[in-house]
Subunit: 151 residues, 2 copies
DNA sequence: CTTGTATTGAAAATGATTTTCAATTACAAT
DNA sequence: ATTGTAATTGAAAATCATTTTCAATACAAG
C-alpha cells in the first residue's frame, strides 16, 4: 500500500471512530505514516510544524494518544527511559532500534510462544506481554558525519 | 551470600568508589538488597522513611543513581512507561515482571547471541543491548484480596 | 449557509526529576 | 579525642514532560 493510500486509510479510520479530520491531525498522520523512525512527541511537534505551522504540542499528545487507541501506532521504550511512537507493524514483530536516530527495523525472531508457556507454568504468572528488542546504532549513524547520506 | 553480608559488600563498594557511608545510604542499600521487587523512586522514598524518617526524595534519586553507576542495581522499564530499580542479577538474565506489584523473577531464556549476530549482519547495525522481558501478574496478585499472603 | 459539537492552542496545573544552596556530617589527619 | 575539610544532606526552586482547563475556532451534518 502506498503511503498516500495509507494516509487516507488512517484518516478514514479516525473518522469512523467518530473523530473529525482536521489539518493538524492530517499533518501528524502523514508524518507517522511516512517515517521509518520512532518519533517522540517533541519530534512530532517540530516536524509537524513544518507542515502545519500553528500546530500545538497539546494536539500532538492528543492525536498520538488517539492513533495509539486505534492501534495504528504503538509506543516503543528505549534504554534511556524515553518512549517514542512508531507505526504499528503487521503482526507482532520484534524490533531493532537505533538509539541515535530512532530508525526502526523489524526482524523475524524466534517464536516466543513455547518459552512464554513454559515460563508461565514454571512461575505461576499470567503472562500477557513481552518485549524482545535489540538496540544499537544504524549504518548511517555509524558513519562519520562527512559521509552521511540524507535520510 | 546472606542479605547482611551483601549490604556490607555494597557499602564497601560505595566507600571504595570514594563515597561516604551515611545513614540514608545505608537505609536505601538495605532496601534494595532485601527486596525481590523492582521499586520506583517514590516507593524507595516511602519504604526508606520507615528506616530513616528524615530521608529526602532527592537523596533517594542520588543514591539510586550512584548504585546504578556501580552496577549494583539496574533500571527496568515497564509497559506503562515507568521505570523502577532492581538489584542486578548475576550474569545477564531475562526478566519476568509483575506489572501489579513489581515482583521480579529471572528465567533462563534462549541464548540470543546467535540471533543477535544474524540480525546485526543482516542490517548493518552495531547491536549493543537487548531486552527480553515478559510482563504479567504474579501468583499473589492474581489471588482475590481476601486470600493474599504476606510478602 | 447555519448550527451543534469536536477540536484547537494557550495558559495553567500537575508530576517527576534535577539543580541550587546553606547546614550538617563522615572520616582522614592530626 | 579533636579538628578541618570536603562530601552529603534535605528543603526549596528550577526544569522538563505531560495533562487539564477553557474560550475561540472549524468540521461536517442538515
Amino acid at each position: 500500500m502506498t503511503p498516500t493510500i495509507t494516509v487516507s486509510r488512517w484518516l478514514d479510520l479516525l473518522q469512523s471512530a467518530g473523530c473529525r479530520v482536521t489539518a493538524p491531525r492530517r499533518a501528524i498522520v502523514e508524518l507517522m505514516v511516512g517515517t521509518s523512525r520512532a518519533l517522540g512527541p517533541i519530534e512530532v511537534f517540530d516536524l509537524g510544524r513544518a507542515e502545519h505551522p500553528g500546530l500545538g504540542l497539546v494536539t500532538v499528545y492528543r492525536t498520538l494518544e488517539k492513533l495509539e487507541e486505534l492501534g495504528l501506532i504503538e509506543r516503543v521504550h528505549l534504554p534511556d527511559g524515553c518512549h517514542r511512537y512508531l507505526r504499528t507493524a503487521d503482526g507482532h514483530q520484534h524490533l531493532l532500534l537505533c538509539t541515535t536516530c530512532g530508525l526502526v527495523q523489524t526482524f523475524a525472531g524466534d517464536d516466543l510462544d513455547p518459552l512464554t508457556g513454559k515460563v508461565a507454568s514454571d512461575t505461576g504468572f499470567a503472562i500477557n506481554e513481552h518485549w524482545l528488542q535489540f538496540f544499537g546504532t544504524c549504518p548511517d549513524c555509524r558513519k562519520p558525519i562527512s559521509t552521511l547520506s540524507e535520510s
